[in-house]
Subunit: 214 residues, 2 copies
DNA sequence: TAGATTGTTAATCGATTAACAATC
DNA sequence: TAGATTGTTAATCGATTAACAATC
């Protein structure tokens, strides 16, 4: 399956990993790496790595390999990590707080601009540098600030209503931590799902399978 | 790529979604569904769904379709959600607390049995029904209780040490929320990664691509 | 230059889709 | 029985791997 850029989703999903590996290498003073060395480290094949990079242009040098810093930088550009997409967080529970603290502290292409919660008791409390706003303030806020993305850390049963509301206010991309299937009601929005339950169930299956072997 | 059971990973990763869709349908009083109706709902093809289910046996009835409750139940069995794998949580920050509260409250194949943190100040504080234990108590606890799985909600720079320690104490499966690549140091352990940063970067790329289109 | 390693094309493999006979 | 829909085999498609000429 290709995305709108013509790059296959399997390649796209490998880009962040490449970026992070190359950044680490560069930070550790390793200047160059060959596709086969990187393949070894990442558990891929050298062919695959060369194919992947060549979707975006020639970043290597024959007989030398790839310059880690340069390639990391190129990948940052490809991923758009220099972007400044405005994001609002809906749901200031433990999950929301963790996401705000760990994922929006660095240059990841997004800038968190507000935190909302439906609980009146949380209004005004702090999440990092943000004072929690009540959901009643959402409409005015969106009209004024036109956030690009919403991060949904709300309970499954609230997700549908919140997503529809945000869509009506012009938010067209979602980082969705709820189990609700936003794409089914908003087929034209961009939705990136983080389905923790799926991940845990998969682990369960695999552990069960592993045990069967022994 | 096949796992040890001979089932391809792409099929395995669809199982939790099937399970949840079918459970929802059943809970909403919908008794039967055809592969084409389910395909429509889930954004897959009917062929794919029939192929997937038939990896595990014939759950349908010609001319009728699939019984939702029965199939959900079969999938729960296949996934091993009736298991009772003991799990310990390492890291009682916001992320750890969220995971403890939301993912281990239901029948997901695991039972949380303890929560650890390296911060002495958190010792004795509660996470749900658990009193946080200090990491100093980890060794004795593992020797006595032999947990099957560890959930790593620790900072990236602590993950390596913690994973090696747990490995030495007999823990051979990990639900890893850190960015550290556990598999590279423990190739024989089962590791399920939740790489939130990758997910966010992917979203960044896709939003950027979408914008280019318009 | 010789050695190394890329970029790129061709071959293989696996996953998805299509088709249809089986059967409820 | 006729209609519907599965289970399953065959065809297609796409992703991964292998190979090698280009070139630093």
């Amino acid at each position: 399956m290709k995305d709108s850029t013509g790059i296959s989703m399997s390649v796209i999903r490998r880009l962040p990993r490449y970026y992070q590996y190359l950044t680490d290498l560069s930070n550790n003073g390793i200047e160059r790496i060959s596709s086969s060395e990187l393949a070894e480290k990442m558990g891929l094949t050298a062919s695959q790595i060369r194919q992947d990079f060549n979707c975006f242009g020639g970043f290597g040098l024959q007989g030398y390999g790839y310059n880690t810093a340069q390639l990391a930088n190129a990948l940052a550009g490809i991923l758009g990590l220099d972007s400044d997409f405005s994001a609002i967080l809906i749901g200031a529970g433990n999950l929301g707080k963790a996401v705000a603290a760990h994922l929006f502290s660095e240059q990841n292409g997004f800038r968190l601009i507000a935190v909302f919660d439906s609980d009146k008791k949380l209004e005004g409390k702090k999440v990092g540098k943000f004072s929690i706003l009540h959901m009643d303030a959402l409409e005015d806020f969106c009209k004024q600030n036109k956030p690009v993305t919403a991060v949904l850390c709300v309970p499954d049963n609230a997700a549908k209503e919140v997503a529809l509301k945000l869509d009506s206010l012009g938010v067209k991309s979602f980082w969705n931590f709820s189990h609700f299937d936003i794409s089914s009601i908003l087929p034209n929005s961009r939705v990136e799902n983080v389905h923790l339950k799926d991940s845990l169930m998969t682990l369960c299956f695999l552990i069960k399978s592993d045990m069967g072997k022994n």
